[in-house]
Symmetry: C2
Subunit: 213 residues, 2 copies
């Protein structure tokens, strides 16, 4: 299937389609119209048709979408038909929380190692994953075909670690450090800036209160 | 200041402005042009002027923006000039990680209590915050003027807990459960769907590989 350049806004919605289709599939639903999808997902039917058309359009007029097909296709588009090997840098609370979250593995995101510069926790395990010293990162990345690095380190050291990771051949960084990374354009970065998210919630709370007053 | 309805896209960028202005402020920078901001933030200068115009426009032609003023103003817009009282529902790894993250408190987001339905951890503390049984949630929310609830529970129980929280008077939910909540329109919800974020990264990784191949 030919793929054109697709906006990040559309891509951001794909995992949500995947989630809802998975729910319908689990409920034994075989086909769904864009109208029905629009109702449960709180999107317009035309938005849904437009979004899915980017990927070739799997719907048929008068039939709608075959749930299992569409689910599988979107899964493939999202790269979920292959395994990804991940490492976590930073074995603090957040790094441990992510390592313990089994839903990632179920989707093919496999944590292969955790790295930390604290000698006291190196050698311990989180779940069944070894915590290793930072010095071992280079050879570990090279030997284990690691493609995604998860950055759960303080922002003060995030930039230099990101630079190292790129030099080791990492192609994608899932960044939880509260700083924007300057990496080459061919490196994919997805930021989870928790404080930014909380501030957005705070804005909506305060501005809603004002409107209500 | 009059505030119009502002798109969520603009609001999503505000915390990032706030972060960069905070960095400039810490570096002792007194004023900044939209051109300089655009360079460090990788946005266009006209985008920056447009965004900030939504809030009355703090810039002056030929001078640019006063860093400290703009920082303070955006902070107020984001509701950071007041304290928010938060509770966390779900004292698992992620709930504990959030409770331990001091940057939230520094911005006025104060965790007052953690709730969990596991009797074994009720009565313990995370940092200096008591873990309490779910039955105490109602009276705790009412007594402690809680305005934000953080949901770090499995998706299977997220909907019913959200419903309870709303009935107790909670006005905002920071939702980490991997499900969309159906709450009344006057309740603010900000989702952090970690798996969706990881899938987006996977999409970009895989589609970039294809283009490169």
């Amino acid at each position: 299937m030919e793929e054109k350049e697709i906006s990040q806004a559309v891509i951001s919605r794909l995992p949500r389609y995947f989630r809802y289709l998975g729910m319908l599939k689990d409920e034994g639903v075989e086909r769904v119209s864009s109208h029905d999808l629009s109702r449960i997902m709180h999107l317009t039917a035309s938005q849904i048709r437009q979004d899915l058309n980017h990927f070739g359009g799997f719907g048929q007029q008068g039939y709608g979408y075959n749930v299992e097909n569409l689910y599988d296709e979107i899964g493939k588009i999202l790269g979920l038909d292959k395994e990804h090997n991940l490492i976590i840098i930073g074995a603090g609370n957040l790094g441990q929380a992510l390592a313990n979250y089994m839903n990632f593995e179920r989707r093919g995101f496999i944590f292969r190692g955790i790295f930390d510069n604290n000698p006291e926790i190196c050698g311990t395990k989180v779940r069944d994953i070894d915590v290793r010293p930072m010095e071992d990162m280079k050879s570990f990345v090279e030997r284990n075909n690691i493609d995604i690095a998860v950055l759960t380190v303080p922002k003060s050291c995030a930039a230099s670690i990101a630079e190292q990771l790129v030099s080791y051949g990492i192609k994608a960084i899932w960044n939880f450090a509260h700083v924007d990374l300057n990496v080459p354009e061919n490196i994919q970065v997805e930021n989870v800036h928790l404080l930014d998210s909380l501030m957005k919630l705070s804005y909506n709370l305060v501005s809603h209160d004002k409107q209500g007053a």
